[in-house]
Every structure is written in structure tokens, then in C-alpha cells.
Symmetry: C2
Subunit: 200 residues, 2 copies
DNA sequence: ACCTGAACACCGTTCAAGT
DNA sequence: ACCTGAACACCGTTCAAGT
């Protein structure tokens, strides 16, 4: 056989990404394979390599889509006017809720280990910067005398912290028997951090 | 061939763990395979399954050893008398230094994804609890009016936070161009958190 | 009793060969 | 030009068969 041309290259590209998302959602990163994606879209493995450089490339593109979905939800939340502390708590809740509702896909962003020499594609880095920008904007009113660098540093410290709680809790590496939910843990971190950060 | 009996079961067990550690240190979790471990200790793959339930079991035991090494270093640091804040900063530095010096093995603890229904072995959970206990002890003098639950919650929130910074920075998922080192980021989190947490 | 090694069902990736 | 499918070099895991 061969020469099917049922779909354009762009269509195959999109179908593959959507198939990969479905597989990842159900079986996680370890259950995702080129052969499974190919068979799910009705093509042979070889075809995938006409559209993606390799499996890492495909995963990176799936992760990029997940990240942009997450960003959109956070952006929508931070658009509503709120006091700074309420804004940061709302962002944190949105982040945790997204991670809880899309655990497999969200985990995949962090489970996917890059080669030592691999440089993240620019669009991916921009996504990360955009997300931090939301936190920086919410933080700025609380530190009016602080430099941009200090704000940037604080945003990364706090957000990595919330991320860490989320990650350890969802992968059950955290021992939280008798401890409140992920949200409460994250709130504890945020509230104490902001109390220390705030100028008064 | 067969019937070699060059080594006892315990010897094979230990040799396999050490071989796995060496492979993991050099090639990371993704480079670790049963076949490689077996060939490194001069046995066949089948032999490994006489000593470990499966590869997950082997990995879990390697991770347990790594965790106990990390705990010992943290324990040694917290044994020296210090003011509470200095103690927590020192613990954080020890944690980050261990992660930097043993990145592959440290990452493996968190990269290793458990099955949904898998319950962590009791010794593993104890290790985690022990580590949190060190942080709780350092935190307690700063919150004399706080309940044990509040102290436990704060320790988990702060430590997950430091872990998150460490993880994102070492896997280069964090965009820290123009930002100071991992240590500085972690210090930012800790200092602000403690300022908010402290009763005065 | 202890260990082997072949077998099974999977991988990612490539590329000559078919239409 | 487009896609296939067989090939290669790997996996984890099992288990009959050798000594």
C-alpha cells in the first residue's frame, strides 16, 4: 500500500497531538508510545517521523499545548480585579485545580526529562515567562520599593514552592496523613511568604 | 551452564544495588535497565528476578539508600546547635547541595512514578517522616504558640517549596536567566516565609 | 538448588521498497 | 510524493531446561 493522502501533513500533525493527549491522559507518559499514537490515528509508525522529529518532539508539543491551556485559565483569573494577596491565592488555586483535574498531562510536563544538552524551544520558554509575569504583576503592589529583579526572584521562589507542594502531593511523595489538602498547604506557604514579603 | 554459587543471594542483592546506583549516576533513570545491571554484575537478567520482585522494586531500594544518605547529611547539620533560622537555612543548603552533587540519583527519587494503586513501603515513608521531623524541630522555637499540626503543616509547606525550587532549577524548567542561583532562590523563599511565620 | 538463555510482547527509529 | 512495513537494536518479565 501507500500513497493515501487522506489527510494533509497538518491534519496528521494535529490528529497525532490529540491522540497523544488522549493516551497520556489515560495512561500517563510511560503509557505513551509512537506505535500507539500511530495506530490510534490509523497510520503506521513511520508516518509519525514525517511530521515529528522524534517522540521527544511530539511530547514537547503536547506539553506546550497543556501549558498554554493552563496559562489561559490563570490569565482569566488574574484579569478579574482583586487585592494582591487574593489575586495570588486565586492564581495558586487555579494552578492546583488544573493540576488535579489534568494530573496525567500536567505531570508529563515535568516527568519529561530533557537531554543534558537540550535547549528548550523558544515558545516553551515564553510560556513559562508569561506565567511568571502574572505572578510578578500580582506581587508588585506588595513590594513597591523593591526592584524588578527582587520581584522576579520572589515570583519564582513562591511559584516554585507552590509547584513543589502540588507535585509532591499529587505524586503522593509527601506524607500528608492528618494534614489538610493540597490547597491548604499551598495557602500556608503563600500567606506566610506574603506576610514576610509585604512592606508595611 | 548454571549453578555458579559464586555469591550468596545477599551478595548478589548488594552488588545489583551498587551497579544500579553507578548506572543511574551516569545515565539517569532512563538509562537504567535490568539487562545492564545484570551484565554489570556478571549475571543474567533472570537472576535479578530471584533477588528483586521486578525493576520497580530495585529502583525503590536504590531510592531508599539515596534518601537515607541525604537524611544522614541533614541530620549531621541539624545536630550542631544554631539559631532556628540559621538551622533551617543550613538544612536547605544541605538539601540543595546534595541534589546538585548527586543530581541523577536525587532526581530518580522523584522521576520514578508509582502505579496508581501502589502504596509506598513503610521504611520509605519513615525516611520522609524523619526528614520532616528535622524541619519541624527547627521550626518549633519560632512558633511557640502554634499547635503540632500547624508546625507539621508549615514544615511540609516550606520544605515542598524548597524542593520545588531545587527540582525546577536542576531540570532547567525554571527560567532563571538573570536570576541568582538556586541557593539564593531558596533563601528568598525561606527568609520571607520565616518572617511571616515567626511570632513576635 | 541455582542460574541460564531463549521466548514473548513490547519499545524508538530508520529506510528500502512499493504504489 | 507519500506511506508502508520490515529491520535493527533495544526493553521487562517469565520459565522450561540445563548442571
Amino acid at each position: 500500500m501507500a500513497r493515501r493522502s487522506d489527510h494533509t501533513r497538518e491534519e496528521i500533525h494535529l490528529m497525532a497531538l490529540e491522540a497523544a493527549e488522549a493516551i497520556a491522559s489515560q495512561e500517563g507518559l510511560s503509557g505513551l508510545s509512537a506505535r500507539k499514537v500511530a495506530s490510534k490515528i490509523g497510520y503506521t509508525v513511520g508516518t509519525l517521523y514525517l511530521v515529528f522529529r522524534n517522540l521527544d518532539d511530539l511530547i514537547l508539543q503536547v506539553n506546550d499545548r497543556t501549558l498554554s491551556q493552563l496559562y489561559q485559565e490563570m490569565e482569566r483569573v488574574s484579569a478579574k480585579p482583586k487585592k494582591p494577596e487574593a489575586c495570588i491565592l486565586a492564581l495558586s488555586h487555579t494552578y492546583i485545580e488544573f493540576a488535579s483535574n489534568n494530573t496525567a498531562r500536567w505531570s508529563m510536563i515535568y516527568e519529561h526529562v530533557l537531554e543534558d544538552d537540550f535547549v528548550l524551544p523558544a515558545p516553551f520558554q515564553q510560556q513559562v515567562q508569561q506565567m511568571f509575569a502574572l505572578v510578578e504583576n500580582a506581587l508588585r503592589p506588595l513590594g513597591k520599593n523593591k526592584s524588578d529583579r527582587e520581584i522576579a526572584q520572589a515570583a519564582r521562589a513562591l511559584w516554585s514552592g507552590i509547584h513543589g507542594i502540588c507535585l509532591l502531593a499529587l505524586t503522593r511523595k509527601l506524607d500528608i496523613a492528618g494534614i489538610d489538602s493540597v490547597q491548604d498547604l499551598a495557602d500556608t506557604l503563600t500567606v506566610n511568604f506574603l506576610n514576610g514579603f509585604r512592606e508595611n
